[in-house]
Amino acid sequence: MDPLETKKGYQDYVDKKSPNSKILKNCFNAFWVGGLICTIGQVILNICKERGFDTQTSGTIVSILLIGISAFLTGLNLFNKIGKFAGAGSLIPITGFANSIVSPAMEYKSEGYVMGVGGKMFTVAGPVLVFGISASILVGIIFLIFNTQSVTLV
């Protein structure tokens, strides 16, 4: 049978023919923007450590600052410009988490400040928190049962 006649065959054909250069360019942009955001975090982290904060607190300060900055950049409609260019470079760092809260909240502002903004801000962040927190509880329980990190693979 002609491979183009099945849906999957056609999809494979398109994948083969479509230029890989676009993906390479996307990956390159994601790499340097994502790396840069992490490096900004590292500079803040190093300043906090120099100021005498412990590692845990320093990490929290980094998160709070990056989240605050990207939340307001989203509110000013600047973040989606970075996002369009960088793709995963701005989505995967914690900045993407903040963006995922503000974007839907802005969109549903007309539905009111409680159910519109307050409710819709968790459209994407909700699942992230559900799965993240549930996974952490499971990890804690599994750790309690084995009571050792001998389950470590390395």
């Binding site: 990956c27 490096t39 500079v43 709070i64 939340a71 909240a105 996974a135």
Partner: protein
């Protein structure tokens, strides 16, 4: 207090951070381009992966190596949750599994909710293109 700027701009630590952070984002970009996963699913996958790798004790090596390069991506958020749960279990047993994760990530979650709400309040409504 004086800040030693040579420590702040330690080239080797910044370079390692840049490389690892960038590579984690490349993995995300490949997922976006090569699969039909929505951004929400990709974020969930990254956080959960970070929590699992954190629970297995693997992600810690990446954090020790790359610092913010491993903690700023969302995998680091998952790691932070899992690590907090483990530390709390060591201290308080079962209840720690429920309190530790959120406690460790409390700053980030609270900041995201607070700044997120504020930013949405002050945001300009998007112009509808006619």
């Amino acid at each position: 207090m004086d800040i030693n700027w040579a420590n702040v701009f330690n080239i080797s630590s910044l370079l390692k951070c840049f490389l690892v952070g960038g590579i984690i984002c490349i993995i995300g970009q490949i997922l976006i381009d090569k699969t039909k996963l929505t951004p929400a699913r990709i974020l969930v996958i990254f956080v959960t992966t970070g929590a699992v790798l954190g629970g297995l004790g693997i992600y810690k090596y990446l954090v020790d190596f790359a610092g913010a390069g491993a903690t700023v991506p969302l995998t680091g958020f998952g790691y932070n949750l899992a690590n907090g749960a483990i530390e709390a279990v060591k201290e308080n047993g079962l209840v720690g599994a429920f309190t530790g994760g959120v406690k460790a990530a409390a700053g980030g979650i609270a900041a995201a909710i607070f700044f997120g709400y504020l930013a949405a309040l002050i945001s300009k409504p998007k112009m509808k293109k006619q």
